[in-house]
């Protein structure tokens, strides 16, 4: 199971490399070109040394060669820079692409999916997880290609000048991957295990910090403190045992590489002494021998980057694999008039995930410019009905009509532009008070902002803030009380200024005086608009309110409060329960 997930994640990682193929190819070419330059530099250096030592050549004879070394070295540095620029760019491009894809996905998944997620975990995956992807593209992928290319170039170069040394390297070459696989597998496994343990230790520490209040209440914090210290120490001991093995395999590999170089050196040395080999050729082989093993050894550090990327990709693939409901047709076929429309629901059925069927055949009409209040026990389908009207909950059957046009034909975005919605739990966005208002209507001017603040009785609260409308809210800023939050949401709603109002208990969290005041303002605001609202507090409804009672996803009663307040009705039962609470 775990391996198939890893496989899927690895596949996905490779797919993301598609758009940056050219960048990666360039990076690899620049890397390969550098290895050619390294060979050329080694050859020049060997020549200079040979001529200076054996031909007693002076600076006058050698200056061009030395200048050649300088130029080649500078060229190599420039290529190195280009290689890095390309591979780093590939990492950044993929990061941005993935972020874009995830944003798109979240949009498709919509509010219903988002509401059911653990935000903390998901945000970590979306930000910190995505951040670990770049090294895979900037480091691992190009290095993996170069680990094959560079030794080939070096081998070819050595072979042209000193075939015997090349033969030694060639004989070592197949052994090296064998060792790499043998030692590498053990090392990879050890480092995976270590990495997993480290994550578990980190997770455990965070778990303890998250539950610190609970630990304190049970006088367990000091015990846990000792445990944290002990766990760190135990982890150190365990890990060191693992690392000894892992590093030992690295040692074997390194020792092996050193041995190969030593064989070349000894062979070259004694063939030089016996006069069978020119110094330049011998020196050239010796200078290049370490370059042959370098890229293979560099792979070790890149394996970690791949491991982290695969782990992060697993978390992302999971999000990307969530099935998306087919979107409603969004092309507007009709133009809705801007005046308050009438709303009709006919035989509406809808289901929602684990809750099953939440709406079971709703027939309802809200005439243009009138107000209807939905009441019922929690779980009765009130909020689902609002969601269906907003186009957030796909219908299984039935129709929603706006002024006689089917919702699908009107187009969702056109329809939503007609709606102003007051949610049950309004979200405060990270940003200033003003940002929070402007998100609802970006083109609002100061006059209308001041007006809606008055309407929501928020003007005095804002006047008391030293930064006024620029006061930061949300994560890092000052917290608003539940009541102020609700009033902010009301201000936002009024700012939207659309002909259809959908309210989800607008005066909850408010004290009685403020509630009455805002109720009055809302009544004024609602004049001439079509209103569909949810009320949890039945006792506050006036006798002339039009009410529909929703129980188990069906409308069981409908009428004015005065009509429904008869003994034995579902409405009366609700009233009774509400009064008791």
């Amino acid at each position: 199971m775990a391996s198939t997930e890893q496989g899927a994640a690895a596949d996905w990682l490779r797919q993301q490399a598609q758009p940056v193929r050219r960048l990666l190819r360039n990076a690899i070419s620049y890397g390969a070109a550098q290895s050619v330059l390294v060979c050329a530099i080694a050859w020049l250096v060997a020549q200079v040394l040979a001529q200076a030592i054996f031909a007693h050549a002076g600076l006058a004879d050698l200056r061009w060669s030395i200048l050649g070394v300088v130029l080649l070295v500078l060229l190599r540095a420039a290529l190195l820079y280009r290689q890095r620029a390309c591979s780093d760019a590939a990492g950044r491009v993929v990061t941005q692409n993935v972020q874009r894809g995830l944003r798109e996905r979240l949009r498709q998944l919509g509010p219903r999916w988002s509401a059911g997620q653990f935000a903390g975990d998901l945000v970590t995956r979306l930000v910190d997880g995505v951040d670990t992807l770049a090294p895979y593209y900037a480091g691992y992928l190009p290095q993996a290609a170069l680990a094959g290319l560079i030794p080939a170039v070096v081998l070819l170069a050595v072979g042209l000048r000193e075939p015997w040394s090349a033969l030694v390297l060639l004989l070592c070459a197949p052994l090296l991957p064998v060792f790499l696989i043998l030692a590498g597998r053990a090392a990879a496994e050890a480092s995976t295990r270590r990495w997993l343990r480290l994550r578990r230790l980190g997770a455990r520490f965070m778990d303890a910090v998250s539950g610190l209040s609970t630990l304190r209440l049970y006088r367990a914090a000091e015990r846990e403190h000792e445990r944290v210290l002990a766990a760190g120490e135990a982890y150190r001991k365990d890990t060191m045992a693992v690392l000894r093995v892992a590093f030992l395999s690295a040692l074997v590999m390194e020792f092996f590489a050193t041995c190969s170089i030593a064989i070349v050196a000894v062979m070259v040395g004694f063939r030089l002494m016996s006069g069978h080999l020119g110094f330049a050729q011998g020196m050239f082989a010796l200078l290049l021998a370490p370059e042959f093993f370098l890229p293979l050894r560099a792979m070790g550090t890149q394996r970690h980057a791949r491991m982290e990327a695969v782990a992060a990709a697993e978390g992302l693939v999971e999000i990307l694999a969530v099935p998306v409901a087919a979107p409603l047709v969004a092309t507007p076929a009709v133009t809705l008039k801007t005046a308050a429309p009438g709303l009709v629901l006919r035989g509406v059925h809808a289901s929602q995930g684990e809750s099953g069927e939440v709406l079971r055949g709703i027939d309802l009409a809200v005439p243009a410019g009138s107000r209807l209040t939905l009441v019922g026990p929690s779980g009765g389908g009130k909020s689902s009905l609002l969601a269906a009207v907003m186009g957030l909950l796909p219908l299984e059957s039935g129709d929603i009509e706006i002024d006689g046009h089917a919702l699908q034909a009107a187009g969702l975005s056109t329809w939503r532009a007609q709606i102003t919605w007051l949610p049950q739990r309004p979200h405060v966005f990270n940003g200033s008070l003003r940002d929070n208002l402007l998100l609802a209507r970006p083109d609002a001017d100061e006059v209308s902002i001041a007006r809606v603040l008055r309407m929501a009785s928020l003007d005095q609260v804002v006047a008391k803030l030293p930064l006024g409308l620029d006061t930061p809210l949300g994560e890092r800023g000052l917290g608003l009380s539940g009541g102020e939050l609700q009033r902010l949401a009301i201000a936002r709603m009024c700012l939207r200024d659309a002909p259809v109002l959908l309210w989800d208990e607008p005066t909850q969290h408010l004290d009685t005086a403020t509630a009455t005041q805002i109720e009055h303002q809302l009544d004024q605001f609602a004049r001439g608009r079509t209103v569909l609202r949810v009320a949890h507090r039945v006792r506050d409804l006036g006798p002339q309110e039009a009410v529909a009672v929703l129980v188990g996803g069906k409308i069981v009663e409908q009428g004015t409060v005065a009509q429904l307040r008869q003994p034995g009705t579902a409405f009366a039962a609700l009233l009774q329960e509400d009064l008791r609470a």
């Binding site: 935000a119 209440l217 000091e222 390194e254 919605w421 979200h427 994560e475 939207r496 009064l579």
Partner: protein, 572 residues
């Protein structure tokens, strides 16, 4: 005291390991340099013999080559072990230290950031700090020492070369990394800040998705996130370009040093100051000299991140706890009756008052329900009694002022089930044993039965070993809450405070739970905090109503519901 000093002091106990790793690393890198230099010399001497020069003693250089090869590979291995050992010790100590500092801060002094954000940052910051030794200080020290060794060796063969190599090494090893971190410090901070903003934006995108959809603001919001990502990637691009440039310049310096070695060596040979093997040695030395400097640009580009992480961690650790134990705690009184007089309390220093002059008496053995709307201050009272938040006014336990007592002693008397109890990513057994580390399984089963979890436990194939998952994800809300109640019962405290125990329970289970609790707590006091009146008569004798932070009425539970209903109806 600056952050480096403090960080160093935290690592101080590991000084031995750290110095050993440094020594070994230095040995390995010096051996690497020696290996190159000696083999160059050796090869040239051998070739000279081949060309007719007098035979040489090739045993000494050959032995040196072997020695250096062994020292290099072996030293690298020992250094890795030692360095990781030091880092792991630092990790253990850093986490332990920080946890100790966080204990008195939770939750009051940690409340400024929202939990998830605080934690994810903390995790990243600790990771960064752990790596500061292996990632920054060790390679820097090794580079400095081995550069010195190279210069001394170079000076033995050619003073001029050493003189010219010095500025090159200084430029590549000191100026380049220093300049890199100075120029990109702002970018590093920006990347950090933008990550933070990005996290907040994603959190908004998730929690505020419905609003964005309904306002047609998704395009605008996505555009803002795109802009934020682009801005962050632009800062990252600048940093990466700077790093690539520094690495390229380092490579160029290494090549220039090689050319200088050839140039000066050839000149010296012409003037007969240097022999052939000496020239080969200088060339190889020049090539090896820059190898220890290679990790420096990357290491130093992390400095800003390490500094920021250290400052954040220290800022957190230095916060003042909201509730401090008295210097000389009063002895614990015998009795456990609670009296609150004119108690005011708020969660933040300048926040709104949650309790506004609350008066409440809970005589020993009383079972009282505290009811009221959400936001009336019910849960604040529980947090106050648990000594998690400071208060004003007078609270006495057995006649002794609460703030004169040691908080942990108070918690021995008051077992509190929070409104949102935390469950740990551990087994059922371990979650229960938090309250009583030595409790036997039979005791655990008994309290679980009181919490109406016996049937639930029977159905679990792994019984008490069942893993509850991070914050109890494997349990339903009602199960998690009852598990927390069982945990509180293990404390066997004379006062039991239950905050919303019936949340997520159906009416039948609630009543059964209350009945079982009533039997269990016959000779204890119970403060039941709830906004749901259903079934409370099974557990409590009296009901107090809290409104806007004060008690407005208190009466016997019999007929309470009916009376309130009537009152409300009259008022309506």
């Amino acid at each position: 005291m600056n952050w480096q000093r403090r960080l160093y002091e935290l690592m101080q106990p590991q000084r031995g390991r750290m110095l050993a790793a440094l020594g070994l690393s230095l040995l390995a890198s010096t051996a690497g340099i020696g290996l190159m230099a000696v083999s160059g010399h050796f090869i040239a001497s051998m070739a000279l013999v081949g060309a007719g020069a007098a035979a040489i003693n090739y045993y000494t250089p050959a032995a040196l080559v072997r020695l250096f090869a062994i020292l290099r590979t072996g030293g690298r291995y020992a250094e890795r072990l030692c360095g990781h050992d030091a880092t792991l010790s630092i990790l253990a100590r850093l986490r332990g230290w920080l946890f100790g500092r966080l204990i008195p801060l939770a939750p009051a002094a940690l409340a400024q950031q929202r939990g998830a954000q605080l934690l994810s940052r903390l995790r990243a910051d600790i990771d960064t700090l752990e790596q500061s030794y292996l990632g920054l200080w060790l390679p820097s020290a090794v580079a400095a020492c081995s550069a010195l060794v190279v210069l001394i060796v170079a000076a033995c063969w050619s003073g001029w070369f050493a003189l010219l190599l010095l500025p090159l090494l200084l430029f590549a090893g000191a100026w380049l990394p220093w300049r890199l971190q100075a120029v990109h410090a702002d970018d590093a901070a920006q990347i950090d800040r933008d990550a933070e903003a990005l996290r907040a934006a994603w959190a908004d995108a998730l929690a505020g998705r419905a609003e964005l959809t309904m306002w047609g603001a998704e395009d605008a919001f996505d555009a803002r996130m795109e802009e934020l990502t682009a801005q962050r990637e632009a800062a990252r691009a600048r940093t990466q370009r700077g790093l690539a440039r520094a690495d390229a310049m380092l490579a160029a310096c290494s090549g220039i040093a090689l050319s200088l070695a050839l140039l000066i060596g050839v000149l010296a040979m012409q003037q007969r100051h240097l022999d052939g093997p000496g020239l080969a040695l200088l060339a190889m030395l020049a090539m090896a000299a820059f190898e220890p400097l290679l990790p420096l640009p990357l290491a130093w580009s992390r400095l800003a991140a390490i500094k920021a992480a250290a400052q954040r961690v220290f800022e957190l650790a230095d916060r003042t706890p909201a509730v401090l134990d008295p210097a000389a705690p009063a002895p614990m009184p015998q009795a456990s009756d609670l009296h609150l007089r004119e108690v005011w309390m708020r969660h933040a220093q300048h926040g709104e008052w949650a309790l506004r002059g609350l008066n409440l008496d809970l005589a020993a053995g009383t079972h009282l329900a505290l009811v009221g709307a959400s936001g009336a201050g019910k849960s604040s009272l529980a947090q106050l009694l648990g000594r998690l938040y400071p208060y004003q006014g007078s609270v006495t336990l057995g006649g002794m002022a609460l703030d004169q007592l040691c908080a942990d002693d108070v918690r021995e008397r008051l077992a509190i089930v929070e409104q949102t109890p935390y469950l740990f990513d551990a087994s059922l057994r371990d979650n229960l044993r938090i309250a009583a580390p030595n409790a036997e399984d039979t005791t655990l089963r008994r309290v679980l039965a009181v919490a109406q979890l016996d049937e639930f436990l029977r159905e679990l194939p792994n019984g008490l070993d069942t893993w509850v998952g991070a914050n109890g994800v494997n349990l339903s809300g009602g199960e998690a809450r009852r598990l927390a109640i069982a945990r509180a019962l293990l404390v066997d405290a004379p006062v039991l405070v239950l905050d919303e125990p019936s949340e997520g329970l159906d009416a039948l289970t609630t009543v059964a739970l209350y009945k079982a609790l009533a039997v269990e707590t016959q000779d204890r006091s119970v403060l039941l905090i709830t906004h749901r009146l259903g079934g409370i008569a099974a557990l409590v004798d009296e009901v107090a109503v809290i409104e806007q932070g004060r008690i407005v009425t208190r009466r016997a539970v019999e007929g309470f519901a009916a009376q309130t209903t009537d009152n409300l109806r009259d008022a309506g």
